[in-house]
């Protein structure tokens, strides 16, 4: 088992080397096939390891594999060591499984790109970095992966760097992520200063052993780590880079900005569950940011007209859901949604890519309509994705979203407020997805004659990927049937909440969470933890709330149909009636402008001032001063550096006398 764990990240790295060094000499077919096969190889190994893991007794499902010591100097030790536990296993399978399908899709999508091998080298490099991130057994190695995915994201968003908007978007993603990374880095240093180690195992053991006294410190650490998570997972206030990241090729959007990289923040929070449960304040911040982001991004998605941007805001919103679940203390729900979301969001993005392919790279949904006739496979699979993300049973989104909404109330840190946010967002989600789907695939075609002439279904390699992802998006939910439903249908025990049970050794049980929270705050101040404990088994309430959510979602879809198919003018009319609201949403609450005014422009002004005042005068003064001084020294030196041997010998003699003098002193 251990023997091949290291191959999981190594295979994609091999792909990078092959494509980077020989890519331009290989035939395209080979270079693409290599890139796909290495990821598939990692997937097979990941699944094999997962099966092995399931075969072990639940308490011992963890495999450590120390590859080699990395840095060992004085008091600081860090190894390159991998860890495979249920949480890592889920992440590895999602990253490589969905990643593989997206690689295959790219074969067709990028077929005409001149930088084909480079694209696949970057994609493999990204997979490698992401695998290091989720397999690391310490914070430092995780940070290496963390930075690696950031770098790849920059490279891939700006892949078509000839387009200024693309290279700008890459830059923006990189800079915004740097802000978050800074938080992560500080948190990591803080951890080392307090615990004297960066290994997950050591740190968490110390926290769990003494929750009461460490709360304050751990709260600080968790908040810093969460700053990192908001950057990578595009939460308020650092979400601004993700919508712009849609400038990259569509498979990149699917792989990085929907299915994998943006989930790194959620993964990190879930990985550090012990620390977060020891810091109720930080957990509340996580839940609030998550709830706010979920609602906020969903409202923006209502009025966007770019097919990829709608999906981008939807991603931000869904990530908000995941954080809300983590913040409520139910990490398993967050990770479950992470997994189902990977399926249906990858499906939706690749569907959007297929639409763009047919529409000659047009992304404006106002110029689409009725595409179902020309793109039946894309249309049907897109509908599967829409129903899944809207939480309609029996698609996967229903199970995961329902669990999150229920946990936001019944979790150890749950509250009615979060529940309301969750339900409203669910309704909005169903509505904007219905709007998108109806506008693109139904109603009257609105494209130009030229575009209409070119409409075609995507090649089989792309269509098959859509079908496979649609199957995943439909069925993944059954991995985690909620206990209430399972009881109702008299399902066998092992079908009930199978995913949660599998994950619990990694992210804790309800009882463990309550214990840690109570220990952290002394047991009295979080009253709702006890209330929630009672709620846990209230099946009637669960069904009732589930019904409300479902009714709202179904209603929203039907409203969407009514507004955009039956009465196509309604949306525009509504927008005219509420011009202020519409414009605010259309302009994303003017937040980009706000950032520009408050951060970017003052920053530039400060930069300019520093440049004129400090740089030119002081730094350049010093640099030029050094240059001048160096020139002077050089000239002085030239008196010695005559090229005459006798002068050099004199120098040696002088040095020898100096040495003797120092030693004899």
């Amino acid at each position: 088992m251990r023997a091949y764990l290291w191959l999981i990240p190594l295979l994609p790295l091999l792909g990078v080397l092959i494509n980077a060094w020989f890519g331009h000499r290989l035939p395209r077919r080979v270079s693409g096939a290599v890139a796909c096969l290495v990821v598939f190889g990692s997937f097979v190994l990941g699944v094999a390891a997962l099966i092995r893991l399931i075969g072990m007794p639940p308490g011992q499902r963890i495999i450590y594999h120390k590859l080699f010591p990395w840095i060992s100097t004085g008091g600081f030790e860090s190894a390159v060591a991998l860890m495979y536990d249920p949480l890592s296993a889920v992440m590895v399978c999602v990253v490589t499984g969905v990643g593989f399908l997206i690689h295959v899709y790219s074969l067709g999508y990028m077929a005409h790109d001149p930088r084909y091998p480079r694209f696949f080298a970057y994609m493999n490099l990204f997979t490698f970095a992401m695998l290091m991130l989720v397999l690391a057994d310490n914070f430092l190695l995780m940070f290496v992966g963390w930075e690696g995915v950031g770098l790849c994201s920059y490279l891939l968003i700006g892949f078509w760097f000839e387009r200024k908007s693309a290279s700008d978007a890459g830059m923006k993603a990189f800079i915004v992520n740097r802000v978050g990374d800074f938080g992560f880095l500080l948190g990591m240093m803080f951890i080392f200063a307090v615990f004297g180690s960066l290994r997950f195992h050591d740190v968490f053991k110390q926290v769990a052993a003494d929750p009461a006294t460490l709360t304050l410190t751990v709260t600080g650490i968790c908040l810093l780590l969460f700053v990192g998570a908001t950057g990578k997972s595009a939460q308020i206030p650092l979400y601004v880079w993700l919508p712009d990241a849609m400038e990259g090729p569509t498979p990149v959007s699917a792989l990085i900005h929907a299915a994998t990289m943006v989930t790194a923040g959620v993964y990190m929070v879930a990985r550090c569950w012990i620390m977060f449960l020891n810091a109720p304040l930080a957990l509340t911040v996580v839940a609030c940011i998550g709830a706010l982001t979920a609602l906020f991004a969903a409202t923006i998605a209502l009025v966007q007209n770019d097919i990829k941007r709608v999906l981008a805001y939807s991603t931000i919103s869904q990530l908000g859901y995941m954080f809300m679940a983590c913040g409520a203390g139910v990490f398993a729900a967050g990770v479950f949604h992470l997994m189902t979301h990977a399926f249906f969001k990858a499906l939706l993005f690749l569907g959007a890519g297929s639409v763009m392919h047919a529409m000659s790279d047009d992304t404006d949904i106002r110029r689409m309509g009725g595409l179902m006739k020309w793109l039946p496979v894309t249309g049907v699979t897109f509908w599967v994705g829409t129903l899944a993300i809207s939480g309609i049973p029996p698609f996967s989104g229903f199970f995961s979203k329902d669990e999150i909404i229920w946990s936001s109330l019944a979790g150890p840190m749950g509250s009615w407020v979060f529940w309301v946010f969750g339900v409203v967002t669910a309704a909005l989600t169903a509505f904007y997805m219905a709007r998108l789907t109806f506008k693109v695939f139904h109603g009257q075609p609105r494209m130009s004659g030229e575009q209409k002439h070119h409409l075609h279904e995507s090649p089989p390699s792309m269509a098959w990927v859509l079908i496979l992802l649609a199957v995943g998006a439909s069925l993944a939910g059954f991995l985690n049937i909620p206990p209430a439903i399972a009881h109702l249908l008299h399902l066998p025990e092992r079908w009930t909440a199978a995913f949660t049970n599998f994950l619990e050794p990694s992210v804790g049980t309800h009882e463990q969470a309550v214990y840690l929270l109570e220990a952290s705050v002394g047991g009295s101040q979080i009253g709702f933890a006890k209330l929630a404990h009672g709620l846990q088994h209230n099946a009637a309430l669960e069904f009732g709330l589930m019904g409300i959510t479902l009714a709202l979602a179904a209603g929203a879809i039907l409203t969407g149909r009514w507004m955009y198919v039956s009465r196509p003018g309604t949306g525009t009319a509504l927008a005219r009636k509420l011009p202020f609201l519409f414009r605010t949403l259309q302009n994303k609450y003017y937040l980009d402008e706000f950032y520009k005014a408050v951060i970017v422009r003052p920053g530039m002004a400060l930069g300019n001032a520093l440049w004129r005042g400090f740089d030119v005068l002081v730094i350049e003064g010093i640099v030029n001063g050094i240059a001048i001084a160096t020139a002077i020294i050089s000239r002085l030196f030239r008196v010695f550096q005559t090229g005459y041997v006798r002068n050099y010998a004199a120098g040696i003699l002088a040095g020898a006398i100096l040495i003797i003098w120092v030693l004899m002193r």
Binding site: I71, T73, G74, V645, Y648, G651, I652, G655, M664
Partner: protein
């Protein structure tokens, strides 16, 4: 001591087996080149590589035997680690040289033979615990180098370089011999440890004669590793010598000097000795980095860079102990990989007749040859000490050893001068990557190279990266070397103590 028996003679032979093997291989190479000049082109480098590999095998074997000190030479784990570093360096030199000597028509049998002889001198220097043997090593290292420096007979710079190196080298060697004589006259021994120990036992202070002798020996070694103010020959000689010889000099000759310094350093008198090394180290890294900034010729730049790195390496010697010496060994390995890499790229870029050696000639070269652009960037980043490359970890270990040994001030200085280093190393990268090639001004850099050169270049870049990523296992290996050095110093004292002394505290005097 007991009467010498046959057994001791065999032990002695084993102790010097690696050096002998390399010297013998050099002879074979020389003779083969002379008898079959028609095949010299490929035969001599192949023989050289084989000889070096054979020597490595001998070294490992001799190391495994666990030989006691043989009187003049020691085959402890320090020698083994150090010899292997030298042999790796020599191996790379042969590979890097191949393209150069072919292109510049220097391919005579003597070239590889001289290089191997010089390497055997380097090995002898680090393996000797005796000043006389060390001197022999020093000369064996230097004399072939004088010839090699002047190997491109057609170029007057090469001639000038050789003559300067010869005259100054002879001057420095004279210091060494005279110093060794003074040490002997003061202590009655030429053994490094025994002489140092004898002084410490005999007097409260130290005898002036011994100190003057030691100072003169240090002068000679400082000349060899190019410490300020004994460095002045370096830029002139490095620039004029054939580039492959320059690379060899920058790595092997420097390493040999540090190998000897590691043995000698423990013998120095306390107090003023550390002040002296502190000062030399500080002066060397400031001066080397400062002057590197204003260089336009890449070989001169690398010469000053090698001076600066000598300053960092001296920090490890000053820190001493297991951590310091181990860091020095690691750094030598890292330094060898990145310096050879940089010179290998310089050899390719210079083109026939070494036309393009100014940094400005490299404008936009990365566009034309991504391989050269990337590998050179890796070497420069590593030389500048940026993570995750070997240079970063080398510096990290040196600096942390210095901090632990109680020299935080020097470490701060080293970090600051490293920042200066970033400036001129990155300048090379910037010129290669970001500047547009100017049409037809001056000699343009070349990018075409035979497959072997390109492979060596890539392998060195990978090695620089790998030494960074896998630094800990390598460090553990070099740790065994520094442990061996400590053990030999203790053993040397005990072996030469005829009867138990009545001052047991002096036993620890050898290892400061």
């Amino acid at each position: 001591m007991t009467a010498p028996s046959l057994q001791i003679i065999t032990w002695n032979l084993w102790v010097s087996a690696p050096v002998c093997a390399l010297a013998a291989s050099a002879m074979v190479t020389l003779i083969a080149g002379a008898f079959w000049p028609a095949f010299a082109r490929w035969l001599t480098p192949c023989l050289a590589l084989g000889g070096i590999a054979l020597t490595a095998a001998f070294t490992i074997l001799a190391g495994m035997l666990g030989l006691p000190p043989a009187g003049m030479q020691v085959m402890d784990s320090f020698t083994v680690v150090f010899d292997l570093i030298i042999l790796i360096a020599a191996f790379i030199t042969v590979l890097v040289s191949n393209h150069y000597v072919t292109r510049e028509n220097l391919e005579r049998g003597e070239y590889y033979a001289l290089m191997m002889l010089s390497a055997s001198g380097a090995m002898l220097m680090a393996a000797s615990d005796n000043y006389v043997m060390m001197f022999l090593g020093l000369e064996l290292l230097s004399i072939p180098l004088y010839v090699l420096a002047g190997f491109s007979r057609g170029r007057s710079e090469s001639q000038e370089s050789a003559l300067k190196y010869l005259l100054l080298g002879a001057f420095a060697s004279a210091f060494f011999v005279f110093g060794a004589a003074l040490v002997f006259s003061a202590t009655g021994s030429t053994n490094i440890v025994v002489a140092g120990d004898a002084t410490e036992r005999a007097l409260v202070g130290t005898t002036p004669i011994y100190v003057i002798g030691l100072a003169m020996i240090l002068t000679a070694l400082a000349f060899k590793v190019a410490l300020v103010p004994f460095h002045m020959w370096t830029p002139d000689v490095y620039q004029g010598a054939p580039t492959s010889v320059t690379a060899f000099m920058a790595v092997v000759a420097k390493a040999a000097g540090f190998g000897a310094l590691a043995r000698v350093a423990a013998a120095g008198p306390e107090g003023s000795w550390t002040v002296l090394l502190w000062g030399l180290s500080a002066a060397t890294m400031i001066w080397g980095n400062l002057l590197a900034i204003s260089q336009n010729n890449i070989k001169r730049l690398l010469a000053y860079s090698s001076i600066a790195h000598a300053g960092y390496l001296l920090m490890g010697i000053l820190a001493g102990g297991r951590a310091g010496i181990s860091a020095v060994l690691f750094y030598l390995l890292a330094y060898a990989a990145m310096t050879f890499g940089a010179f290998a790229a310089v050899i390719i870029l210079a083109g026939r007749g070494d036309g393009a050696e100014d940094i400005e000639d490299y404008r936009g070269i990365a566009r034309r040859s991504p391989l050269l652009g990337w590998t050179m960037a890796i070497f420069m980043f590593s030389l500048a000490g940026l993570p995750p490359f070997a240079g970063f970890f080398g510096k990290l270990y040196l600096f942390s050893a210095a901090v632990e040994a109680g020299y935080p001030g020097l470490t701060v200085l080293a970090v600051l001068t490293s920042v200066m280093g970033v400036f001129y190393y990155l300048r090379v990268t910037v010129v290669m990557w970001m500047q547009e090639p100017e049409a037809e001004s001056g000699p343009a850099a070349q990018t075409s190279a035979p497959l072997l050169s390109r492979l060596v270049l890539s392998a060195l870049a990978v090695a620089v990266l790998a030494l960074g990523i896998f630094s800990s296992p390598v460090l553990r290996w070099t740790n065994s070397g520094s442990a061996g050095l400590e053990r030999s110093a203790e053993a040397a004292i005990q072996m030469t103590l005829p009867e138990p002394t009545n001052a047991p505290a002096a036993l620890s005097g050898g290892s400061r």
